[in-house]
Symmetry: none
Subunit: 135 residues, 2 copies
DNA sequence: TCAGATTGTTCGCAATTGCAAGCAGAGCTG
DNA sequence: CAGCTCTGCTTGCAATTGCGAACAATCTGA
């Protein structure tokens, strides 16, 4: 049997983890799953249950929804997670810092090919960020 | 015994099914799961995976979210205004832009009491400058 | 009354999930 | 070099999922 699973969920997790500069074990510990299992999940050898996805999401500080969507368990839904609102409501940083973030965020939004009218569905990052495995 | 699980998900499904005046087998067929399994799920003897929940939701014409919430796999709404989570989940900007925001955000939090001002917004090991983002 | 259809349920069993433990390398530090 | 720690990966193994196939009740209808 081929394991040619979509595995986009696994790749997504790995990408997010690396972007957050976490080791596999680190994330595993933080999420409360075993590192071995997480390894297999990331490589698409195993298909994690929703409960596990949930834990992973929490461990990575991303929304469960985002993961579910990636896993194909949930379509679409709430494309606007409203980062702005979250930033504005964040009290762990100063007002000045908040304003900086907001400014940057908004400049990003403008920079984007905002031509797109309808909400985008694919959500994923750049298509070409290929892992380049040191080793 | 001792299966006194929460099983609210099961009860919920059964209630919805009966309200729709469907038989267990009918729903099972429409959802593409076995009737035996559906029976066990409804009585809380088994904990269905998200994939199964998805199929059931489709078979009952209710939203997947509703079921996930009932199953405790998803919280009703965005629970917190976790800025990091929101940024990570934001699909209206590119992954690189996200990463920039995240880096800045984290540097802000590290900054703590403006004493140790180690502004290291960059210093990344990734060549993300001049990301002109085609498309 | 007896065959047939429908209801929900129980009973194995193959396949899968998820874990603990242990493996091979890379990267340091003395 | 040895020793330690980090990285991710592989290997059994118990527990669980999910299904097919039967089972007991109930409701027809001829």
């Amino acid at each position: 049997m081929a394991l040619r699973r979509g595995s986009l969920i696994g790749e997504y997790i790995r990408r997010q983890r690396q972007q957050a500069k976490m080791s596999l074990r680190q994330l595993a510990a933080q999420a409360g799953v075993s590192n071995s299992y997480l390894s297999q999940v990331e490589r698409g050898l195993r298909k994690p249950s929703a409960a596990i996805l949930n834990q992973i999401a929490r461990g990575m500080h991303i929304s469960s929804q985002a993961l579910y969507v990636q896993a194909g368990l949930l379509q679409d839904r709430s494309p606007h997670s409203d980062a702005l609102a979250a930033i504005r409501g964040d009290t762990t940083i100063t007002g000045r810092q908040r304003q900086v973030l907001i400014d940057i965020y908004e400049s990003f939004r403008k920079e984007k090919p905002a031509r797109d009218s309808r909400h985008r569905l694919d959500s994923s990052d750049e298509p070409r960020s290929q892992t380049r495995l040191a080793r």
